[in-house]
Amino acid sequence: MQPSIIRAQRVEKYYAQPSENRIQVISPTDLSIPAGEIIALLGPSGSGKSTLMRMLTGLSKPSAGEVFWHEKPIASANVNVSIVFQSFALFPWLTVLENVEAPLQARGMNAAERRKRSLHILDTVGLDGFELAYPKELSGGMRQRVGFARALVVEPEVLFMDEPFSALDVLTAENLRSELLELWQKKTIPTQAIFLVTHNIEEAVLLADRIIVLGRNPGHVRTDFKVSIAHPRDRKAAAFTQLVDYIYKVLTQPDAQPPALPQSSTGKRVRDQRLMHYQMLPHARPGGIAGLLELLLDHNGKDDIYKLADDLAFEVDDLLPIVDAAQLLGFLTVTEGDASITPTGAEFANSEILRQKELFRNAAVEHVLLLRQIVRAIEAKSDRTVSEEFFHDMLDEQFSEEETLRQLETAINWGRYAELFDFDASRRRFFQSEEIPPELENSAEIDA
């Protein structure tokens, strides 16, 4: 086996909570980056792709475990890596040339040498003639070329890319991808390995020699396999679509078995989110769910999720939460990457708005614990209002602060749509009432 450039050994990331629990973001993971490979890291949002990548670069310290650079601990090694960022992360006040020169400046290279190397790399990525432009004068694609030039100018051993093409339009992204592949295959750049973080399945299959798929809650490696399709890869080829379909299946399959629960040295109990009280609400809007079900009905009630995504020109990150939500509410079932609509789902899709709300309401109360609890709490109170803080504190036990807020936002969104309750955003309270309570009208008066 090839010796690895970077090797992660049982790295994990968690955030300590004031209470007994801690929030596990990534469970102990082994991973290595050998020379000569393009590795793609795929996963739905919330699976900790970026966090894992940042630990591999040495930007972020793992909570436990260790990352090695040529078998030396990464903190004390002279690491030579670069990152191409999703947002480009260029300094808008520096010219293209100055942006590319900045990393060399940090290495103490003299001005003449610096200029020579920067001009050369700008030429390589096709930015000849743009040296003195400012990033804001360039188009998105050109800006990302500057991002590539800055990353490549230090001749990194490993080039990390954090969703580098997702802020670009489809054509520009395609163009940049093939150019990158050409640089890599012709060995124009001395880079030894490329590590690509993406949520675009086709992109991963198009570029990578090896694909790692992450699952979430907490982030863990679901599968790690080689891609042996020869370049140039054809999106329409059977081998290609089969692989894409396979990855969709992996991503939509409920986990068969959770990975071994980590044992922490501090003796604190680590809870696995799947075994916990509240299910994680997928962040989908009721309108989106209805739209998906209607589309599915048009496709005779059953279709490949991959095809659905293709039809909608959606990426996994956009579609999966909607599929998850519909599944949670019992509107559809997913088997082997195929989504099929349930009778309730079909009725929901066919109904007019008021009936839809009613069906949604019944499904929500039946399947979503948090909504059920909110409704019960309101009904138990004589004034028919409950503070958001109460639920915030309960969710906080289980989710990170950010996720707790998102969970509440989704719950409020669903509850309002289902007319289960309403929410007063200025006082942060749930309430239930036929008409607007008088004190609310007063406060509106004063505010205006």
């Binding site: 930007l59 670069s82 992360a89 300094f91 808008p92 940090a106 290495r107 003299n110 001005a111 205006a448």
Partner: protein, 591 residues
């Protein structure tokens, strides 16, 4: 003059033209108390020092009223402002940097920032002047330093807060880029932090310098009973001219004042704003931008390039080289991992130093509190009465200011043609510090039989209405045309229009203006309620009056108590009234 529309357009959302508010409190109440105790100790120290000096007579300086003396006086004033400004800038950058990067100090420093930027600085004027004169036996230097110190205290906090919040809002990926390419601290400061913070710092500098003129005028013309702290400068010139009723001299001085401000704007701020355009953190190129021929000249002059560019670049190169070398030797040093075991000795030293500091602060604060025991009940009653009077006065001034600025501001904001004429005029009017006009105003009032009661409100109004006006104009301009069209389309009545479109639309801006105006009005009360003119002392009931009278009479316990009461009132009003309104504006009325 600065074109307001451009000015507002170039600001990042969340930045205001006025005092920034720390919206989300992350620090516990205890920290506020800690800050209060430190402040108390500090102020007591100042008063104690002042004590020693008290009783020495001060020879009054002669102020010449000849117009020929004016350039020199103006020069003195400008030098004072410049010194104080650069001091503030350096301090603000240091303070902001420390607060942003030192996790342990951050909360305390923010609490201090929040309190310090809301206390009326001028309430320290009498105490600080006494103390500085005591510290420096040559009286001129003492008063000079006192003035600079006061201007500094008034100007620094908003800049520090702006730098701090800029540092905290730097996008994560830019930070990571500097980290992955191992930028040194200096490189990070030069290529990321300073450029990112530049625009906020520049706008806050403009605010601070405008405020500095207000304080400087007050300092330069400061006279306390028989004691004369005046400094040769524009302020004292104006005051003397008003005292003897020399109309020509007053006119000369005011013209000089306006000229200086217009020149500062044209020769300094405008080029700087035009230059700062490159620091805008935007994805696409904006349309409207400030232009400055002067900047063009400077940028294209070869001499400047050689002078500045060459030297700075060489220094920078040397630094990067040194840093890179150091890193190499550290990493190649046989792979030694630096362990951060702290020395027990240094630990003990640090603890004992901290304890010493704590004891010092507590003792001083304790002394301050014992001093307060000497306050008689009737004096306390007077202070409370004064507080109530000043509170009323401030609110009347705010109401009066709002009453005319809201309709006028909205009218200007809605009509671009009117704005083009009115804005430059309003800006010139606003740029003359209210304190400079005060002696003139009082002179007129005395002639027509008005008293200090009207005079003090008039001063507050003069000093604060502009903040409200400019913010209302900006707010009215920010209301989207669609909303206005909806109002027209559905034939909203005038009242409905104001209630549903205009008032909610300008609300966040109005609040910003009012907060700043309220701070300014409290500040003004110190000189607005006690002013010597023409061999007599004009005064009226109020907290500011209490402070000045107490200082003149050497009653330090009253000076201390009145200052505490004023600081407490302002901070409390900020917490209870302005902050919730601000939050409401941020959440519900944000467009």
């Amino acid at each position: 003059m600065i074109d307001l529309r451009n000015s507002f357009a170039t600001m990042r959302p969340g930045e205001t033209l006025a005092r920034s508010q720390a919206l989300r409190r992350t620090w516990p109440f205890v920290l506020d108390l800690v800050v209060a105790v430190i402040g108390l100790a500090f102020f007591y120290g100042i008063v104690r020092i002042g004590h020693y000096w008290f009783g020495h007579p001060v020879p009054a300086i002669e102020i010449s009223l000849s117009p020929r003396a004016l350039p020199l006086y103006a020069f003195y004033s400008v030098v004072r402002i410049s010194l104080a400004y650069f001091l503030s800038l350096a301090f603000a950058i240091g303070y902001g940097y420390l607060a942003a990067y030192n996790k342990r100090l951050e909360a305390l420093m923010l609490a201090a920032l929040d309190i310090l930027q809301s206390i009326p600085v001028l309430s320290f004027l009498p105490g600080v002047m006494l103390a500085m004169v005591a510290l420096f036996p040559t009286r001129q230097i003492g008063v000079e330093l006192g003035a600079i110190l006061l201007i500094f205290t008034g100007a620094v906090w908003n800049m520090a807060f702006s730098f701090y919040s800029s540092l905290r809002s730097i996008p994560k990926e830019l930070r990571e880029a500097t980290e992955i390419y191992s930028f040194s601290r200096v490189q990070r400061l030069l290529q990321l932090e300073l450029p990112y913070a530049a625009i906020g710092l520049i706008w806050n500098s403009i605010m601070s310098v405008a405020g500095a003129w207000f304080f400087l005028m007050a300092c330069e013309m400061f006279v306390l009973g028989p004691r004369d702290f005046r400094l040769p400068g524009l302020g004292s010139y104006l005051q003397t001219a008003a005292s003897v009723g020399n109309g020509h001299a007053i006119l000369w001085a005011l013209t000089t004042m306006v000229m200086i401000i217009v020149l500062t704007d044209q020769l300094i701020w405008r080029p700087v704003i035009a230059w700062s355009d490159r620091f805008k953190f935007e994805q696409v190129e904006g349309k409207a931008r400030v232009r400055s021929p002067l900047l063009h000249l400077v940028q294209n002059s070869r001499m400047m390039k050689h002078l500045g560019g060459g030297v700075a670049a060489r220094l920078e190169e040397r630094h990067y080289h040194a840093v890179a070398l150091r890193r190499e030797t550290r990493l190649s040093g046989a792979g030694i991992v630096r362990t951060s075991t702290s020395h027990p000795a240094s630990f003990i030293l640090r603890i004992s130093l901290g304890l010493l500091l704590l004891i010092g602060v507590l003792t001083l604060a304790g002394h301050a509190l014992t001093l307060l025991r000497h306050v008689r009940p009737d004096q306390l009653l007077n202070i409370l009465k004064g507080a109530a009077a000043t509170f009323l006065r401030v609110n009347v001034a705010l109401l009066l200011a709002s009453a005319w600025t809201i309709p006028v501001g909205v009218a200007i904001g809605f009509q671009p043609r009117l704005a083009r004429i009115a804005q430059p005029l309003a800006q010139i009017a606003a740029s003359v510090p209210a304190t400079a006009l005060f002696p003139v105003l009082l002179l007129a009032l005395i002639r027509y039989g008005g008293g200090m009661g009207i005079g003090s409100i008039a001063l507050m109004l003069l000093g604060t209405q502009w903040y409200i006006l400019f913010n209302v104009i900006a707010g009215a301009m920010a209301i989207p045309n669609d909303l206005k069209e909806v109002a027209t389309l559905f034939h909203f009545t005038r009242w409905q229009r104001w209630r549903t479109v205009i008032l909610p639309g300008i609300f966040p801006f109005l609040i910003t203006g009012l907060v700043t105006a309220s701070g300014g009005a409290w500040n003004a009360s110190i000189i607005a309620e006690y002013f010597p003119l023409k061999n007599q002392i004009l005064q009226t009931t109020g907290l500011g009056n209490q402070i000045s009278v107490a200082t003149a009479a050497g009653e330090f316990q009253i000076l201390l108590l009145a200052t505490i009461v004023m600081a407490l009132m302002v901070v409390t009003i900020n917490r209870l009234v302005w902050r919730p309104l601000f939050r409401l504006a941020e959440t519900r009325y944000r467009l």
